[in-house]
Amino acid sequence: MKTSPYRSLEFILGAGLTGAMVLAVLLSDVLFADGADAMDLAMRLTLPFQTLSHPLGTDPLGRDVLARVVSGGRISLTVGVLSVASAAAVGTLAGLVAGYYRGVWDAILMRWADVQLALPFILIAITFAAILGTDMWKLIAFMAIAQWVQYARVVRAAVIVLCEREFIAAAHAVGVRNLAILWRHLLPNAAAPVLVLMTLNVANNILLESSLTFLGLGIDPLIPSWGGMLADGRTYLQTAWWVSVFPGLAIMLTVLGLNLLGDWLRDRSDPTTRSPT
């Protein structure tokens, strides 16, 4: 592949945005020791860019918006990363087994995938959230349960193609055990599409967290999260825009960074890929 200086613009921008956000979130404890929760009703809705103590203003309960945006990222990123990691782990395993052994498990998996893909996720999510209630771990579980089939499908497809290649047949011929083939040959070769899907889904799930909060299915409002701040602040857009515009910007920049990275990764791993997800 030719390397043009423009080609990496996506990477530079993506890595820069994502890196900066992750760094800020990791340092939130150092930067704002318990500042995110300190409430002061007398100081509610302070304008941004006026004082050093509240550079981005305060929210309707007088809490510091900057501190909440930075520590709110921790929840949003945790939800995004953990949901994707667990979905990818389960999905990859299922996809490997189904693609390698085929047969009855493969058939069951694929039909189940069809069922899940036919369900409008958001409707199922609100139904289950209504039953089980929501906290961070349940939110992660909902997303993982909804998305693992995507990974299973991608890995299965890759494995089926790989199994037809000569080096797998050769490995069989010299008596390499199934487990070893799966672990050493198939997994690494199926990793690229999984990695792409993971990056894009972290972005997607950060947005999903905020949409679910908007629909009233968020986590404990005392815990700052971008989705919660955005959803709660929407009523204040006309009177105190900063309450939700700053978390909105944080979401936008992080998600954009991740999407750029994902797009760049996808392009590198397979420049002509058409897979929509």
């Binding site: 929760d37 409430m39 009703l41 007398a42 509610r44 309707p60 309960l61 959230a129 209504a130 039953i131 209630g133 929501t134 009233g216 299915l217 968020g218 404990d220 409002p221 005392l222 709660d232 929407r234 009523t235 204040y236 006309q238 009177t239 105190a240």
Partner: protein, 504 residues
């Protein structure tokens, strides 16, 4: 470049075509939060029903804006047999919107339907079970005979379930059809109903209380409060019926709009879990009540659109005691009291509330902040509405506190107190106190108004003395109204009558 300029010009030319058409004078458009789905008076309990359907139906008695009873389809009434028999003289010459005459038979039909199997399917019947029979004396005189004393019955006859319905129409078309195409005797009649979209009313010029001045009323069902306000601001509706506190000042400051903020029917309190955890101890509950600064919550978060309360009722409620004093905000005393109890370190108190209440989301966070300030760890848990009212509260699965909002259309403390504090009641998973039960049952047997009021006030004091709840506030109902609407009188029970309203 040339192309782009032309496009821009075209866009500007088209733009005026997109402006929502200026509403015709005489047409009132109201944004309503909820579609009751069924307009049958016996099938509903929703405030949303009352605020719309009070224009479609009449009861034997009605209430004015000060909540006093006044004649409706009955021109007069008398109380006989020590309150066990209510005799009504009916208004003559009244017809339903479909032309059917209103008379004593219609009253009998209405009440029989309410108390029979059709009524059993809905939530209204249980309010009227003290009625024994309805006796037709002559075509325009009717007696309602009680089988047990019910001092609130006359007020209840102004309630939803006792709205008069047309016998012939319902017998011919069935209840399902009536629920979608309702017919009453009220000042407005339904001309079009699209489920979850809109309801259109036309005036009933023959109405006994005078012909309405409007030509047309359109209710649009809009769930999101922000969207309601946006519609109001852009001229799509004349009245927004659910204005979030955060947007009240925006409306008040807009030159073409005005804000109506009046005492609403709902009182909000935090009730305690008195059978499990740290709040079993009355001292802990008292300390928590002292720890929360309700005045500041009302002033800052609710921007004054609420009144702090001392018991689970508004100042309009029968049973309200102006002499009852609130527990003062005193974090120092709260800390001292908590120190006496010697709670284990890191004791967590959690507050459960329904997630759809966005204003309360902020209040809950503020309460948690105040509790943290006196050394408790606070946690708040939103629940989906149905799960909260259906499972969490009745099955006693709440944390140390839970939000309860209540307000009866009767504006009688009995309506709240009995359901909240009597043992075994659906909304009362925790409290079991024979003394309180006796007080609650006793007041129901008192016919004398003054005596009963005293008994109700004693209940409110008992609840406060035992710190069974943390009283919060009586939330205002906030309406945004376009200034071209004239003659609007907002009733505290949200049951609008638009007869005198005009739109320029």
């Amino acid at each position: 470049m040339h192309m782009r300029t032309r496009l821009l010009a075209a866009a500007v030319a088209i733009a005026p075509a997109f402006v929502p058409p200026a509403q015709a004078a005489g047409t009132l458009t109201v944004a309503q939060s909820q579609d009751p789905n069924n307009w049958d008076p016996i099938a509903t309990f929703l405030i949303a029903w009352g605020s719309v359907a009070s224009n479609m139906f009449d009861g034997l008695v009605l209430r004015d804006e000060a909540l006093n009873l006044k004649p409706g389809l009955a021109t007069s009434w008398e109380v006989l047999d020590q309150g066990m028999r209510l005799r009504f003289k009916l208004r003559q010459g009244v017809t339903f919107h479909n032309g059917e005459p209103f008379n004593a038979e219609a009253v009998k039909f209405t009440m029989a339907r309410l108390l029979g199997p059709e009524g059993a399917k809905g939530p209204q019947q249980s309010n009227y079970t003290s009625i024994g029979s309805v006796d037709v004396i002559d075509p325009y005189t009717v007696d309602i005979v009680l089988k047990r004393p019910d001092p609130v019955m006359l007020t209840k006859l102004a309630g939803y379930g006792a709205m008069m319905v047309p016998p012939k129409y319902i017998t011919e078309k069935g209840s399902a059809e009536f629920g979608i195409h309702p017919v009453g005797t009220g000042p407005f009649k339904v001309t079009d109903y699209q489920n979850k979209v809109s309801l259109t009313l036309a005036p009933n010029p023959a109405h006994w209380d005078g012909a309405p001045k409007l030509d047309k009323v359109i209710y649009r069902f809009i769930v999101e409060p922000n969207t309601q306000v946006a519609e109001l601001q852009s001229g799509g509706v004349d009245i927004a019926s659910n204005v979030p506190v955060a947007l009240a000042s925006t409306i008040a400051n807009a030159p073409t709009l005005s804000l109506i903020s009046i005492t609403g029917p709902t009182v909000t309190v935090l009730r305690f879990n008195t059978t499990h955890g740290p709040t079993m101890d009355a001292r802990v509950r008292k300390a928590m009540i002292m720890a929360v600064d309700r005045d500041t919550i009302v002033k800052q978060i609710l921007q004054g659109h609420a009144k702090p309360v001392t018991s689970f009722q508004s100042t309009l409620s029968f049973g309200f005691d102006p002499a009852q004093k609130p527990v003062p905000f005193d974090p120092v005393a709260a800390k001292k009291l908590l120190a006496e109890v010697k709670l284990p370190a890191n004791t967590t108190v959690s507050l459960d509330f329904p997630s759809n209440d966005t204003t309360f989301r902020e209040v809950a966070q503020a309460v948690a902040g105040y509790l943290t300030a006196v050394g408790l760890k606070a946690k708040i848990t939103p629940h989906e509405m149905n799960v909260f009212t259906n499972d969490i509260i009745p099955n006693g699965k709440t944390g140390e506190m839970f939000r309860m909002g209540w307000g009866g259309w009767t504006f009688d403390y009995d309506n709240t107190a009995y359901l909240m504090y009597h043992s075994g009641e659906h909304w009362n998973p925790y409290d079991k106190d024979p003394a309180l039960d006796a007080m609650l049952e006793g007041q129901r047997k008192i016919v004398d108004r003054g005596e009963r009021e005293k008994a109700l006030q004693a209940i409110a004091h008992f609840v406060a003395d035992n710190a069974l709840e943390l009283p919060l506030y009586n939330m205002n109902t906030i309406y945004g109204v376009n200034k071209r609407v004239k003659g609007l009188v907002a009733p505290p029970d949200n049951r609008w009558r638009l007869t005198g309203v005009t739109v320029d």
